[in-house]
């Protein structure tokens, strides 16, 4: 009955007031942080961006007209290869959890494993691919980077696929099966189709998430100051490693500026992906 003892209303209200103030402080400070980071990126990055910056390849310091086009191409190539490797198996795995493994014990364990896998530090995936791909093949390559990113994407796509398919109402499944469709056709043609926007959203978010990953690429794709010679057997230029290299290993103002410019481009790409997923999901909501 200790909880019922008399507490002065004044102190209760005071506590509540302090808590409200702290809440507002939390909201204001987090909004300020977001604004600050974006502001710094835009302020420092906007000056670097020009047509030459986007179309010339990166070159060692001292030569004028350096750009980042090789890194942009490399990042696009690595990310899309990763997506190409990862999407199909990850979606099949998600379908398994949503459609076949509903009440099975091992499905629960796999879901648990996928959630755990999402939290594994990306640098460890880099170490793993370094030993599993880079060392046996004898050289750093864009492909190794893509495989590392594919592994990071796998649980993300898998879990969103499962969540999105679980939202499809059961009577759609029953109706299609009653029409005599096989389970395969019902799953792919009816359930996946009605969850289409959600599935695309999951894939886009996974791409956005890995497009800025740096640590795994340090051990796999590395960097080179030229256009891609051979994606499968040569180090491949990419944006995150370019930023890391230019920001830490170079004392030159010019290179720091390039790093900010590259960050601005990455952030714009990620924002664009995020906005498009919101539009996709909103369309779906209106459609129902």
């Amino acid at each position: 009955m200790q909880n019922l003892k008399f507490k002065s209303l004044f102190f209760r209200k005071l506590k509540n007031g302090l808590f409200s103030i702290f809440s507002f402080f939390a909201v204001a400070s987090s909004l300020f942080l977001i604004g600050w980071i974006l502001f710094e990126i835009i302020k420092n990055g906007a000056g670097a961006i020009s047509w030459e910056f986007l179309t010339n390849p990166s070159i060692p310091y001292g030569i004028p007209d350096a750009g980042i086009s090789n890194a942009i191409i490399g990042t696009v190539l690595i990310t899309f290869t990763a997506a190409a490797i990862s999407i199909a198996p990850a979606m099949l795995a998600g379908i398994y959890l949503a459609e076949f493994g509903k009440n099975k014990k091992h499905a629960g364990a796999i879901r648990f494993g996928a959630n755990v896998m999402m939290g594994i530090p990306s640098i460890l995936v880099g170490l793993f691919i370094y030993m599993a791909v880079v060392v046996p093949s004898g050289n750093f390559s864009g492909l190794a980077g893509a495989i590392a990113l594919a592994i990071i994407m796998f649980p993300i796509i898998m879990r969103t696929t499962e969540d999105m398919m679980a939202m499809v109402p059961n009577h759609l499944r029953e109706a299609s099966l009653a029409l005599g469709m096989t389970k395969t056709r019902s799953t792919l043609g009816i359930v996946c189709r009605s969850a289409k926007n959600g599935l695309i959203t999951g894939i886009l978010l996974a791409i956005a998430r890995v497009s800025g990953e740096t640590a795994p690429l340090l051990f796999t794709a590395l960097f080179c100051d030229d256009y891609i010679q051979n994606f499968f057997s040569q180090p491949t230029a990419n944006m995150p490693v370019l930023i890391a290299e230019y920001a830490t290993n170079s004392p030159f103002e010019e290179m720091h500026k390039s790093a900010w410019g590259a960050s601005l481009i990455i952030i714009l790409a990620i924002l664009a992906i995020n906005v498009s997923t919101r539009i996709l999901l909103r369309e779906k909501k209106n459609g129902h």
């Binding site: 398994y96 939290g119 460890l124 796998f154 898998m158 096989t182 389970k183 830490t248 952030i267």
Partner: protein, 302 residues
């Protein structure tokens, strides 16, 4: 049994799903094999030894482990209260305010860590060096607290911890937000009905109801902070010696790996893999605990 498309489809799905446990065990096996040399040479002393000398080939993980724990601790203690208040605010606020706010905070999670690192290096470090650290030391006399440090150059545990705090904030906040939304409205209304203030409702009803979920959110943030590499690498100073003070330079497990990997070979590289194995074990454990907590809340809410 007749082989039909259904059969093949189901088997294919099952095969892909089982890739998850295969990957996780493959990480373990690969790291264990690659680090076997270090474990053979140093044994379990590797974990308790603080020496890191590539020239005499003596390696120990202790400094990196302590550094990881310090930065994680700073990150969590700075971001937890903020995330908690934010999540409560968002769960309480009207839809029109809550949604944009939630999206804005999710935006923090989508910024790549290398950009946080650059922001920390070029923006936060100078501010820490010129404004925050002199203020803490000279004006507030925090230097008298043991281990706090009496001088700083902007780099070090404190800076790294604060940047990590910004990075884990959206993850913790997102989990807590979901947990708070799961509190049955009836319970909250009842609490308001008997005259509880907002704070008391939050403290006695919402938090009690979502205890496990909150714990799960904390552990998710913990896991993120442990394994973060690039942002920490840029600002921690990469000093391999024993941590001297909060303001001083140090290292974490992940930043040690990233910083040393390019020039390491032989036993040195093996020691880095051993560090990776320690990090993997730590983060798997933490993730497992967080998932256990969050699963339980799902079960309760049904």
């Amino acid at each position: 049994m007749k082989i039909s498309t259904d059969f093949i489809f189901k088997k294919a799905c099952r095969l892909c799903a089982f890739a998850v446990p295969i990957f996780i065990s493959a990480f373990f096996v690969q790291l264990a094999v690659s680090s076997s040399e270090a474990w053979k040479v140093f044994g379990l002393d590797f974990i308790v030894s603080g020496e890191w000398n590539p020239v005499s080939e003596k390696f120990g993980a202790l400094n990196a482990i302590i550094g990881t724990l310090i930065t994680t601790l700073i990150a969590l203690s700075a971001s937890l209260p903020l995330a908690f208040a934010l999540a409560l605010f968002i769960a309480d606020a009207p839809e029109i305010m809550a949604k944009p706010l939630a999206h804005a905070i999710d935006l923090l999670a989508s910024i790549p860590s290398v950009i946080y690192g650059m922001w920390g290096l070029f923006v936060i470090c100078p501010i820490m060096q010129n404004i925050v650290q002199p203020f803490l030391i000279e004006t507030l006399h925090f230097g008298k607290i043991p281990f706090f440090g009496t001088q700083g150059n902007g780099f070090g545990f404190l800076t790294a911890g604060l940047i990590l705090a910004v990075m884990v904030l959206p993850y913790i906040c997102a989990v807590m937000r979901d947990v708070f939304k799961m509190t049955p409205p009836m319970l909250r209304e009842a609490a308001f009905g008997i005259g509880c203030t907002r704070f008391e409702t939050a403290k006695d009803i919402v938090v009690k109801y979502g205890k496990r979920g909150i714990l799960g959110g904390i552990f998710i943030g913990l896991g993120r902070a442990l394994g973060e590499t690039m942002a920490v690498l840029f600002v921690i100073g990469n000093f391999m010696g024993p941590p001297a003070s909060l303001m001083g330079s140090g290292t974490t497990i992940a930043s040690t790996i990233a910083n040393n990997f390019a020039e390491a070979d032989g036993l040195h590289k093996s020691a880095l893999f051993a560090l990776g194995l320690i990090l993997l074990a730590m983060s798997l454990l933490i993730q497992a605990v967080s998932q256990y907590c969050l699963n339980k809340t799902d079960a309760n809410s049904n």
